[in-house]
């Protein structure tokens, strides 16, 4: 066991699922946190307590429970704002997930309801993404390009799994209106450099969005320090519940953007033929929001803050180094992503020669209780770029141990034996 200053044994006790047995007496070895993280008792209990004792709708109920529920919901916004360093709590919009946050921003462009020239988009204008994006940071922009006649362009990825910035100046130009890239790749583990891209974005007067679904859970993300315009992440990957995501955007941009979904709570006044809208964040939170989920998310980010994101980063760094070393010993195994540890998170994807990832995942699960993700991980273009249909992916979090990585390695040796 490598000492990373994190009391992993104590942390593991907070996650009851980690000590359960799978059918057939297998232990659970959960290496799929990049897909979704497990939940500590603190989060589960806070949600149970809210639902059992304080639950009512928020923002509109004029009674004691309504006030308690609203307070808890808005407290969660404060906690999340603090966790990502948002200068203003009203810059935190609760969405259903990161996908909705990305769609919300894409929908603001080329939208006749909006008047701000920064969001005007049509033929001749360009949207820039990258080849290493999750589908949720590709498809909304494809749909936007289809709606408006704008052109979609993208950064390519180098053989070692880094963002290729060699043509940054040709790709991001005066025609560019928005650049949206992933902060940390959900397949490669690569942490992308924001500063050089942002500098060029500012030079040409465009806007920049980060898909931070894989970075907010695993590093200290400070939106003010990053200096971008929009950032999306999701609750269920930061040991919080599913059903809630977050869009952070600079206040003046939220003000300039048209609403996304129409409905209750997002309005100021409604007549039969027109409406005026509430200020952000409520302008973007139509309908009854994920109340209990927000409460859970607030407790989740507090849980991580208490442990300290620096300690989480160090722990995952050690696990990644250990994994890259151990996997290097397995014949026929090829890591898809950076082999050096600089600017790299705890997500390790790989192929095993002659054996399809589905077969790898099935045997790891059924024989060893090792849960990994197999397939294209919602990043098909990235797999096409590497000329492979799928990979096996192990992704770590604060509760994983080197002993679990040993189990993965034992499992992989067995997989090779079955298919030898």
């Amino acid at each position: 066991m490598v000492d990373t200053g994190l009391d992993v044994e104590r942390i593991r006790k907070d996650f009851p699922v980690l000590s359960r047995e799978l059918p057939g007496g297998r232990p659970l070895i959960y290496l799929d946190s990049g897909n979704s993280a497990q939940k500590p008792t603190q989060v589960v209990e806070a949600m149970r307590e809210h639902m059992a004792m304080h639950y009512a709708n928020v923002g509109r109920a004029m009674h004691a429970l309504g006030a308690e529920s609203t307070e808890a919901y808005e407290n969660a916004r404060d906690k999340v704002a603090a966790f990502v360093g948002a200068p203003d709590r009203d810059e935190i919009v609760f969405t259903k997930n990161a996908s909705e946050a990305l769609n919300l921003v894409a929908y603001a462009f080329g939208n006749p309801i909006g008047e701000d020239p920064r969001f005007r988009l049509g033929p001749g204008d360009e949207i820039v993404i990258s080849e290493m994006e999750h589908h949720s940071n590709i498809v909304p922009w494809q749909m936007l390009a289809q709606r408006t006649g704008a052109t979609l362009r993208w950064f390519s990825v180098t053989d070692s799994g880094r963002l290729d910035l060699s043509n940054l100046d040709e790709l991001v130009t005066e025609r560019t209106k928005i650049v949206s890239i992933v902060h940390q790749s959900n397949v490669l583990g690569t942490v992308n450099p924001v500063a050089p891209v942002l500098a060029r974005v500012r030079e040409v007067g465009a806007l920049m969005m980060l898909d931070a679904s894989q970075s907010v859970p695993h590093q200290q993300v400070d939106v003010a320090a990053l200096g971008v315009d929009f950032l999306a992440f999701t609750g269920h990957k930061v040991v919080g519940p599913s059903g809630i995501g977050v869009l952070w955007a600079r206040a003046e941009l939220l003000e300039a953007m048209p609403p996304f979904l129409g409905g209750g709570e997002m309005i100021e006044a409604v007549w039969m033929d027109r409406s005026t809208y509430a200020p952000a964040p409520h302008k973007f939170e139509a309908g009854t929001p994920p109340i209990v989920e927000a409460v859970g998310l607030g407790v989740a980010v507090d849980y991580l803050s208490e442990i300290g994101m620096d300690a989480v980063v160090r722990h995952e760094h050690e696990l990644t180094a250990y994994t890259l070393g151990a996997l290097g010993e397995i014949p026929g195994l090829k890591v898809i992503g950076p082999l050096d540890l600089a600017d790299r998170g705890g997500t390790v994807s790989f192929t095993l020669e002659g054996i399809h990832p589905h077969d790898v995942g099935q045997i790891l699960d059924d024989n060893f209780g090792v849960a990994v993700r197999v397939g294209h991980h919602c990043a098909r273009p990235l797999h096409l770029r590497f000329g492979i249909p799928a990979t096996t992916r192990a992704s770590f979090y604060l509760y994983n141990t080197t002993a679990e990585i040993d189990a993965l390695v034992r499992g992989l040796h067995h997989v090779r034996k079955v298919f030898a």
Binding site: H356, H358, D359, Q362, N367, H376, H383, P389, A390, V418
Partner: protein, 145 residues
Amino acid sequence: MIAESMYQELILEHYKHPQGRGLRDPYDAEVHHVNPTCGDEITMRVKLGDGGKVEDVSYDGQGCSISQAAASVLHELATGSTVDDSLGVVEEFTRLMQSRGKIEADEDVLGDAVAFAGVAKFPARVKCALLAWMAYKDAVVRSTK
């Protein structure tokens, strides 16, 4: 250790040494089927002869051992058979796959395809086993049009 029972020796043999693989001419119809959740894909050609005889089933594709072995077994069972007989096997195979492991496989109808019985217990993998068989059904329908 339940997965071991899914990876029958026969399945692994077909995966390592696929029968009839590769697209061939002539053919009456060609179809391309994909499994969007896992990216498995198959291109299949069917050539029919007189009296509903299946003269050739040729295919190419990529995917897991289950999907690729299922295509190989299908090639062996369908080639040289008749449209009616082979569609009968497809029907029985589909019934077995969708049974969640609750019915006995009819070996007289299924032949080697009976080796896939264990797959039925894994809902996530049933689509893998069915990919080639659904493509075949589709190709036969298009061939007889």
